[in-house]
Symmetry: C2
Subunit: 398 residues, 2 copies
């Protein structure tokens, strides 16, 4: 029997990063390839207490089916955090709980993307979004990212094609580490407002800022026209799979229908555990601890790069998040570099999969959240040697 | 701004049952409308202990991202249960953990259904599957169910159209309560084997048999041609959202790619909690307790129906599961009956949404798992009065 697959499967392939992560499972390899939060900072004891309490006190409801929209108390607590931390008002009714924010990307693709319709994304773009949207056959439009955000002429040009939406990660982007400046936010919001194109603002890392000034989501400047995605994966625990989206009613109604068909609802127990944790613990103190640690790790990586990388290799200097981005001279291949790196027991993710247009072969992503300061120092040293060796070989060939 | 939705959203509507469940939230209403397991039978204390232990002993990994395929130990335990309880061998590698089996329906739709392609389903069919598959624009083919399974001539005719797959719930089907007999299983497997059409066998209730002989899944007779779906929702807790699918490698590989784009992976914590529970508790003793309770509730409902329902109304006599199915004389409308029932504070689900072809307006579904024996007796009495009143009115009109 030869199964006949839907044609939407033609362009879809297993994640290249998954394959890389298999190679880097060897503990002798210093891996900057993954995108994992640091498990040493997980609130383990607090969650054990929360889970036991929730199950003992509300087990009959916590183990039952629940509503597709999500736990009303969790939605209220999320709205309250926006009001207290960011100073803007969100109606809890406008929040839909999702099974990680990855699920929301899938649902947005399902609800908004027609095969062959234009969809805009940053270049480089978040791989999980590229994968989720690809199932629905978008005709990609890309907007180049530079140090302070998108190239505005690129965005203006792309918006003229009336894409179904523009998907972006304005804070400490994965993979590039780029954050939109205040000026760029203003300009991007104006271009979007003028075009009427939906803005999908993904903000998984927004609370993980180590340097510079906090910025408002663009969502606040685009009433009725923007979706704002959030997640507990980076501030509590990714193993919970709890994210959310704030969406205008007309879009939210469709997302709820898609969510019901996708998994009925997100785990009742886990939602209740998070509610209990948020009500009985100071998540802001916890986030401050994550920020402090990642900030140090980022500083060690940036400083090691300055000492060890050849001058021809440029890197972003992220103000937060978990990643930084390196660019080799034009014509270089980070895939070839990867083989040298594995030989020296250090790993990264080649940048190529983050580009929907086949460019970016000379770029690479480095994660700093999930390695100790010692291993960052050691690994960047090794990678510096690989880069020198690679560039010398190329020089020899040229 | 007027968002432009994908055309796949045109035929998709909020679940009618969701709307009904809102009406029946009034505790004064005796509701046979929902499809909920009985929360009094949830293993609450055991899960509280399991959750606390897992988080305290393995918190750093249980709260982290994990593999898309699912926890290897959970997959092995599921395979072991098939071997021990059903006597057939499944390679744990062939099992993919899903976020409830609803997620698997969504992924099957995504991977296998092309817009306009034929897809076969039972008549009546499981509503969650109808909703999930509808997003992908199937051209429905239906196979009539009778007391011992599908009408074989119907199935043979439908298979000649080479549908992408035939989706069925052979044990205690939702909504009808019908179970395929041994003879029907044999005949259905032969028809499917001859046709080469993929069989999607959904088995959420298989372990909840009160009467009659256990039957083997058709999956065992269709090597390489069938998918077998299972779930912990009915034997442990639906609030966990843990299901699985056993699938041949070529299809499983595509499902894994779809799953990764859909939510990366199912909650690590919850999978570990289930592993701990399965290793330290006797789930079979727990299931025996559920079976015993539901069996009594089913018996009370069947016997009350015999005493209270007019002879013109026929009902299935399910051997297991959570539902039974009533059929009014042709031309009757269970939707009109619903209004009378609500006035007498009793509720059910009109059968219409379980039919993809607009028929079935004279049918209705009754759930017996989530009402006490007293309330079943009382509610069926009220419903009997409604039926008599409704049929008398119709008779009067005729």
């Amino acid at each position: 029997m030869s199964p006949q697959f839907a044609s939407r499967m033609d362009g879809v392939h297993p994640s290249f990063i998954r394959e890389i992560l298999k190679v880097t499972a060897d503990p002798a390899i210093i891996s900057f390839a993954g995108g994992l939060p640091n498990p040493a900072l997980f609130p383990v004891e607090e969650m054990a207490e929360a889970a036991a309490t929730v199950l003992r006190e509300q087990g009959r409801t916590a183990l039952q089916y629940s509503t597709t929209e999500g736990d009303p108390e969790l939605r209220s607590l999320i709205a309250k955090r926006y009001a207290e931390k960011k100073g803007f008002t969100v109606d809890p009714e406008d929040i839909l709980i999702t099974t990680g924010s990855q699920q929301c990307l899938d649902m947005i693709g399902k609800v908004l993307i027609e095969r062959g319709a234009a969809v805009a994304i940053e270049r480089p773009g978040y791989l999980g979004a590229i994968q989720a949207f690809s199932f629905f056959g978008p005709d990609w439009r890309t907007v180049e990212l530079v140090d302070d955000g998108p190239v505005l002429e690129d965005l203006a040009r792309v918006l003229r094609d009336r894409p179904r939406f523009f998907y972006a990660v304005p804070n400490f982007q994965n993979p590039s580490g780029v954050t939109y400046s205040a000026e760029k936010r203003q300009a991007v919001a104006e271009l979007l407002a003028g075009s009427g194109v939906i803005f999908v603002e993904d903000d998984p890392y927004g609370e993980l800022r180590f340097l510079g000034q906090d910025q408002q989501p663009l969502f606040t400047r685009l009433p009725g026209q923007a979706l704002l995605l959030g997640t507990f994966s980076k501030i509590a625990a990714p193993g919970f799979r709890i994210g959310w989206v704030v969406a205008p009613q007309r879009i939210r109604e469709k997302l709820v229908v898609a969510k019901q068909a996708a998994d009925l609802h997100t785990s009742t127990v886990i939602q209740r555990v998070l509610v209990h944790y948020l009500k009985t613990h100071d998540i802001d103190a916890h986030i401050a601890r994550i920020r402090e640690n990642y900030g140090r790790q980022r500083q060690v990586m940036v400083s090691a790069i300055e000492r060890h990388f050849p001058a021809e290799v440029s890197c972003t200097r992220p103000e937060g998040g978990m990643f930084l981005w390196a660019r080799l001279p034009e014509g270089c291949s980070s895939m070839e570099l990867f083989d040298l790196a594995i030989a020296r027991k250090v790993a990264f993710v080649p940048g190529d999969p983050f580009y929907v247009d086949g460019t970016g072969g000379n770029t690479l992503r480095l994660n700093f959240s999930n390695s100790s300061e010692e291993r960052i120092e050691d690994g960047i040293g090794r990678l510096g040697l690989c880069l020198k060796e690679y560039l010398a070989r190329r020089g020899g060939k040229a």
